[in-house]
Amino acid sequence: MPEATGEPSETSGATIRLEGLTKRYPGTPTPAVENVSMEIRAGETVIFVGPSGCGKSTTLKMINRLIEPTSGRIRINGEDVTDIDPVRLRRQVGYAIQSSGLFPHMTVAQNIALVPKMVGWSKAQVASRVEEMLDLVGLEAREFAGRYPRQLSGGQQQRVGVARALAADPPVLLMDEPFGAVDPITRDHLQDELIRLQHELRKTIVFVTHDFDEAIKLGDRIAVLRERSHIAQFDSPEAILTNPADEFVSGFVGAGAALKRLNLTRVRDVGVVDFPTASVEEPLQRIFDLLGPNGTNELLLLDRHRRPYKWLRRGDLSRARESLARAGSPVTHHVSRDATLRDALEAVLTDSGGRVAVTGRRGEYTGVVDMKTLMNSVHELLEEDRMEAVEHQHDLAEERERQAQAAQEGLS
């Protein structure tokens, strides 16, 4: 049971251990899910990804026993929950589904309050928790608490769905294609939001999707599943991208693994280069000198708050009759330090000069990324991934060998 206090617990999530989980429906020759074993660490986000009908959803629903496994065990934090009262189990496991699953006859607040009420929180605790949860998912409590689900947009409904799933502070959160029914832009926002949430809460999240890009973006580890929920590969996104275990996985990863890899690295993780800069507040003469024959060909003009303002080339100033307001080309693209390398590449490709200004939290200039830096960092990244993957495989092989040996010794 989650502790019945109004405070979110400090503990991160719980471990989940699936042991030989199998689901066989009567009257079908092959099981829907066959012998799935995996260990999910406390506080990590694991994504089940695979083609439709591969049993990923069934596997997820066996964790909270919405679908009763035919055989196998489920352990949460070491406790065997395979035979406990399913209602008790589900109250400590949050559950969010596609198209939110909000009850249309209840207000947003009533929906979120459901689980805390069921586990016996006091009225005051529930009320403050509802407000807290709405705040957590970025909805104004005063505005939204009294609304009915149909008065919300799809994205807002999904946020409330997540808030409801987390309301009683469960250590584990199961998400079954939660963002499958919203438009791409909203989905992107919701994904970012989930990343931020998870950063704060550190729950154990199991997330089902058929969208591999979503898996890469959200997952600490990804389990690529094939038919009957057989695990084709269970590893970090980096490892899966650079070193897919077999053809099925590489087929699923799809073309452009290197491009997808760019999504996993942020601009702040690669070197930004310095660029000659000048401030609009500096005397014109100094700017002239900087762009003079002994200076640089181009400089970045910053505004009063040190934000990128204009790219200024040698000669621009004289052509514009020495008016800073008219000279040079305004900075149209800039990326934050938290942007992915993919965003940076996009900006670099669109920019006529092949470079983009990088800005800090308040939009202030921190450096420049250009094609060359990007290429170099991507090569380094891929090389590193490859080395890691090889090492990892080596470890795995050793482990297998050790197990085989142990088994043999046990036999003899």
């Binding site: 209602v87 559950y95 009850f103 249309p104 209840m106 459901l114 149909r150």
Partner: protein
């Protein structure tokens, strides 16, 4: 005696009959609703049980009301008992059918969500399924009430209460001075009662259907 003079002379009696008529229909509706919803709750999950419940109640409705009363009188005697039993049985079909349709019509993802967040079966039924099925159930209750208003008039045959007595007395004494007035008063009374009940149901709908699912 004109119809208006008749009404003026007999209004006391008319009001009593009208009240008894309304009261009989209302009480039988409460009974039929309870039994009907229970039947639906017990059967909606299974294809054949649900169909059996609907078919059985539909069959009851095809028995002519006079015949049903005639069959009941030897078993339970005259008066209130056969009236209540007959009216309740007749009232079942619309309620059972609408409740089953309503309960089966609840979006499966909502049932999944209810289970997933840890609702027990009873909680799910009371907090999610019945509230969502309530609008069609209420429609069933409305239809049932309209029907019972008319059928209740026949109850006078079994010496039951209500406006039916007027109608029967009128028919029995056709040709006498007040015969037509009696039949007319009884019939109009029933129509007015039916309209009043219908208005009441609209009000009940407004009050009990949550804004989130109101059409």
């Amino acid at each position: 005696m004109s119809f208006w003079e008749y009404l003026g002379n007999r209004h006391q009696q008319l009001l009593t009959d009208g009240f008894q008529h309304a009261s009989a229909v209302f009480q039988c509706m409460v009974l039929a609703t309870l039994i009907g919803v229970l039947l639906a709750v017990a059967t909606y999950r299974s294809e054949w049980a649900g169909n059996l419940a609907t078919t059985t109640t539909a069959t009851i409705l095809t028995v002519p009301s006079l015949a049903l009363l005639g069959l009941l009188i030897p078993v339970v005697g005259l008066g209130v008992a056969p009236t209540v039993i007959a009216l309740t049985l007749y009232g079942l079909l619309p309620i059972v059918r609408n409740a089953i349709v309503g309960l089966r019509g609840v979006d499966p993802t909502l049932v999944d969500a209810a289970n997933g967040i840890g609702m027990s079966r009873l909680t799910r039924l009371v907090r999610v399924e019945l509230p969502l099925a309530w609008p069609p159930i209420l429609t069933g209750i409305r239809v049932s009430t309209q029907m019972l208003m008319g059928i209740a008039a026949i109850a006078a045959y079994a010496s039951g209460p209500g406006l039916g007595n007027l109608i029967f007395r009128g028919i029995a004494s056709l040709g006498s001075a007040n015969a037509l007035n009696q039949v007319l008063a009884g019939t109009l009374g029933i129509v007015i009662l039916a309209l009043l009940f219908d208005a009441a149901y609209i009000l009940i709908g407004r009050l009990t259907i949550p804004r989130g699912i109101r059409a």
